[in-house]
């Protein structure tokens, strides 16, 4: 959102309002929450692969997350014979701790770490539903300036903000996007809203794709109530009703390529509990759609030895929305884990491209972030009920890349831009002001050498000489690694998502974004998946 800088206050407020979309307004097509709570179980479409076998379909989609699910729905709606393959479990294994979630629903068990400027864990989901299983479903639309930039860059008016709004409306309706309801927002969000109002900033309760949310604050473990409109409860059931076949617990390890033409994929079954490999599955298909995410898709391409063939941008331009966090202590009870997990946000006119929103994490992670360990462990436990948090992410200028290690794991590098680090620091100070205006007192940041502070200006002084290596980092929005371009010199896929370097290969996930979004990517990934699916179907 760097392009927002320089707008008049009124134009700026209007631009921000556009990122929320029309959700929550009268007449917006919100699905019946009860219908989403009782969907056709996607596992019903899952077939077993007891022994090695080969199947033939018209289209095979690799990945069952927001990109793959939306592409599959578009393809099935066009009457194509589609098989969707997913590495993760066929069923959701939600339990009461994050370690369990990581085992079943995070790519590489949650251990992907980028090196470069600093060590930065990067999260990506897996399982039928992909990252939508374990995200907080924040559903902002990208700013007008970002999408119009894409349209200009690719010389394609169908990518402009106005042209894409009907698609955003459509996927928002499927997911059930609405403004976080006040009755389930919780004090962690309400405190932020009070701070925003007190300081006169633009923001408030956030749009989320959680039509049946009960506010139990554990989105990142997997939604225990079924109230989140994750892909497994929205796009995939709709697609299975239109004939989609799903094969989960199979890992695609290679593409069948004959003379520069993709003819299918090679996969192997993987036991979700033990990781043991079993039977092989060969899928011959007229078209192949990769939707394994901005880490998984280029990792697969490089592991399959196809990186160079797809051009110089394969796996490049990794962007992640990096940021940081403040954990704060209040005099009153907050109960961070009661209420919507991430349900409030704000924008600051002096910080274009910075999106602060609610922070929530398991208690032990909050205590480590705030330094309550050892002699302070019991003190920290006693403070948990009064703990609140907010994080910020930046629309990054920094970039990295994705490759594959020999054993198939993702090899990640990310290098921060100085401008991003500066915006993170300045954003933290504004977050501190909002939290304090809302009632927080003691401010803790997970940054080496920065002590607890009660004054945002003092925090600014402490942050001044800190480098990115002092930050405890985490990122969860990988994108841009197989970006769209007008030609192979500019990108990996064309304006429709079709690969330049290989025939019959398409990519439909966040890797096709031509630049950093600046907002949480779920909705945009679904829009791109739908768009790619329809473009492929239109080819007949």
């Amino acid at each position: 959102m760097s392009e927002l800088k320089g707008l008049s206050p009124e134009a700026w407020r209007r631009a921000i309002a556009e990122t929320i979309g029309p959700c929550g307004q009268p007449g917006y097509p919100t699905p019946d929450p009860l219908a989403l709570l009782q969907p056709a179980p996607p596992a019903a479409g899952v077939e077993a692969v007891p022994t090695d076998r080969e199947v033939t379909v018209e289209v095979v989609v690799v990945g069952g997350g927001p990109g793959g699910g939306s592409a599959a729905l578009a393809l099935c709606a066009a009457g194509l014979d589609v098989l969707l393959l997913e590495e993760g479990p066929a069923r959701s294994y939600f339990r009461k701790n994050y370690a369990h979630t990581a085992r079943y629903h995070m790519q590489e068990a949650g251990t992907m770490v980028a090196r470069g400027s600093a060590m930065m864990p990067i999260a990506a989901g897996r399982g039928l539903g992909g990252s939508s299983l374990v995200n907080s479903a924040l559903s902002f639309r990208p700013p007008r300036q970002v999408l119009d930039h894409w349209a200009s860059l690719l010389d394609d008016p169908t990518l402009s903000f106005d042209a894409l709004q009907p698609l955003y409306d459509e996927v928002s309706g499927i997911v059930g996007v609405g403004i976080t309801r006040a009755e389930i927002s919780g004090e962690n969000n309400d405190l932020i809203v009070r701070g925003i109002e007190k300081l006169g900033l633009v923001g408030g309760l956030a749009p989320r794709g959680t039509p049946g949310c009960v506010g139990c604050g554990v989105c990142y473990f997997g939604c225990p109530s079924g109230g989140k409109g994750s892909t497994n409860l929205t796009f995939l059931p709709r697609a299975t009703q239109l004939g989609l076949r799903i094969q989960a617990e199979v890992k695609v390890e290679g593409l069948l390529v004959e003379g520069g033409v993709v003819r299918g994929v090679r996969a192997v079954t993987v036991d979700p509990h033990t990781g043991a490999r079993g039977a092989t599955l060969t899928v011959r298909a007229q078209q192949v759609v990769l939707s394994a995410g901005a880490v998984g898709t280029p990792r697969l391409l490089w592991h399959a030895g196809l990186g160079p063939q797809l051009g110089p941008h394969t796996g490049e331009h990794l962007q992640v929305h990096p940021g940081s966090t403040i954990v704060a202590i209040c005099d009153h009870e907050v109960q961070m884990w009661k209420g919507a997990t991430q349900g409030a946000y704000f924008h600051h006119p002096d910080l274009p491209g910075v999106l602060p929103h609610t922070f929530s994490a398991p208690p032990e992670a909050c205590l480590v972030a705030a330094g309550f360990l050892g002699d302070r462990w019991q003190e920290g436990l006693a403070l948990l009920p009064r703990m609140c948090g907010m994080l910020l992410m930046v629309s990054d200028k920094g970039e990295g890349r994705v490759r594959a290690f020999g054993d198939g794991r993702a090899d990640l590098v990310y290098n921060f831009a100085d401008e991003d680090v500066d915006r993170i620091k300045r954003g933290l100070v504004e977050v501190a002001k909002v939290l304090q205006a809302g009632g927080a007192k003691d401010l803790y940041v997970p940054i080496h050498g920065v002590p607890m502070s009660r004054d945002p200006e003092a925090l600014a002084a402490h942050l001044h000489d800190r480098t990115i290596r002092d930050f405890t980092l985490y990122a969860a929005h990988p994108m841009g690694t197989c970006r769209m371009g007008a030609r192979i010199e500019d990108g990996v896929v064309d304006r429709q998502g079709r690969a330049f370097g290989l025939e019959n290969l398409w990519i439909a996930d966040a890797s096709v974004f031509p630049s950093s979004l600046g907002v949480n990517p779920q909705l945009s990934t679904m829009v791109m998946g739908t768009r790619v699916g329809r473009a492929l179907a239109a080819r007949g």
């Binding site: 339990r95 009461k96 701790n97 994050y98 370690a99 369990h100 979630t101 990581a102 085992r103 995070m106 590489e108 068990a109 949650g110 251990t111 992907m112 770490v113 090196r115 600093a118 060590m119 864990p121 999260a123 139990c216 604050g217 554990v218 473990f221 225990p224 109530s225 990781g275 109960q335 961070m336 884990w337 009661k338 398991p362 208690p363 032990e364 992670a365 205590l367 480590v368 330094g371 360990l373 050892g374 002699d375 462990w377 019991q378 436990l381 006693a382 948990l384 009920p385 054993d407 794991r409 080496h448 290596r469 002092d470 405890t472 985490y474």
Partner: protein
């Protein structure tokens, strides 16, 4: 905090495996095993290091009485290691060895054999270490063990009062 080059390299290598703070686990009833039951992935010496880190990071007290040394975190970590890919498992075990012998340089004895206050001083020193990879590796390990501590049956009901869907329900 003094560390040999060898220990430092081990810590840096392990950082990649644990900094994600959310590796993999967890089998049922990891806390409910006989004390002399064999470990699946840990050696006895490594289990002692895990117990030492748990004791240092999570002392018992008025908020939650269970002490980290009594929270069966070695059993938790053993299950966790079994669920991890081989590369990450090796790196985490390497980290445990680096901690055990790094304490000799810093505190004058192996970590598992030190008095608890010295164990704590060593662990807290690494959590605030100026080298980010060392700090990240230690933070990652402590968060992992924290997952075990907070899901222990003596702790989970208390955590459930704050985290109702996440713990114990």
């Amino acid at each position: 905090m003094r560390l040999s080059r060898r220990h430092l390299l081990a810590l840096i290598g392990a950082a990649g495996a644990v900094a994600a703070a959310g590796a993999a686990t967890v089998g049922l009833n990891w806390w409910d095993q006989a004390a002399d039951a064999p470990f699946g992935a840990l050696e006895a010496e490594e289990a002692a290091v895990v117990r030492a880190v748990g004791a240092a990071a999570f002392p018992g007290g008025p908020s939650i009485a269970l002490h980290g040394r009594d929270a069966d975190l070695d059993r938790f970590f053993d299950v966790l290691l079994l669920a991890l890919p081989a590369t990450q498992r090796k790196l985490l075990k390497l980290l445990l060895h680096a901690l055990e012998y790094g304490a000799v340089l810093d505190q004058g004895g192996r970590l598992s054999a030190l008095p608890e206050q010295q164990q704590r001083a060593f662990v807290m020193g690494l959590l605030g270490h100026p080298i980010s990879e060392v700090r990240g590796a230690m933070q990652g390990l402590v968060v992992l063990l924290g997952m075990g501590y907070t899901t222990h049956p003596e702790v989970a009901p208390i955590m459930a009062t704050w985290h109702r869907c996440g713990y114990g329900q």
